[in-house]
Symmetry: C2
Subunit: 106 residues, 2 copies
Amino acid sequence: MHASHRSPCPIARTLDLVGDKWTLLILRDALVFKAKSFAEFEQSPEKIPTSLLAERLKRLVENGFLTKVPYQEKPVRYHYVTTEKAKAVLPVIRAMQKFGETQLDT
Amino acid sequence: MHASHRSPCPIARTLDLVGDKWTLLILRDALVFKAKSFAEFEQSPEKIPTSLLAERLKRLVENGFLTKVPYQEKPVRYHYVTTEKAKAVLPVIRAMQKFGETQLDT
DNA sequence: TTGCCTAACTTCAACTTTGAAAGCTATAAC
DNA sequence: GTTATAGCTTTCAAAGTTGAAGTTAGGCAA
């Protein structure tokens, strides 16, 4: 089906979806900091370029991690809402948080 | 100290160290599959280019995840041995494994 | 109705990283 | 001297990233 898999290993396949420089930070913002709008994701402290934010949000929607919901019309504005699939990433993010807190001083 | 931090967030800092396409797979090979030599890492199913494998192993040593131990001379051959810091990454890898197994079926 | 504002993007040139293959070095074995 | 093995290093086109500026659609105020 997907020719993009490097291998059948579930760890490798997970990394194929979220293993780049920005995707897990966007999921952190959505899951932990409850970011919803494009502007909220844009304002997070790591300062992702807007071109990459737009591209990554699109991929997260395509891959079933977020759904794009218009919450007002005139002018139309969007919220990105986390799916169950995104919520299943939270243990990964929490494990990274614990690693960072215990292994990376100051 | 390190100007390379995108932010003080422990999740972001962890991603700065291991959040690329290959580093966590190398740690998977070391921690889960017990890979030790350059050739063993090279042979893993995702087929990392040797140039990147050499660079990533060097960074993992510099960042305190692996130590490079010569285990024979004439000709000199090396083993990469995991540190406690590397072992602290195992919960991240296990969380990714569980995500892959439960969310990425077929 | 002109002008400034916000949200959500899109475009682009410069720059950096990646990937695939080939090459190198030391040693041993045939 | 040819082949084999381990552990890299080099090359360079293709792909990805960055930072800044521009675009679109409407809101609001003077």
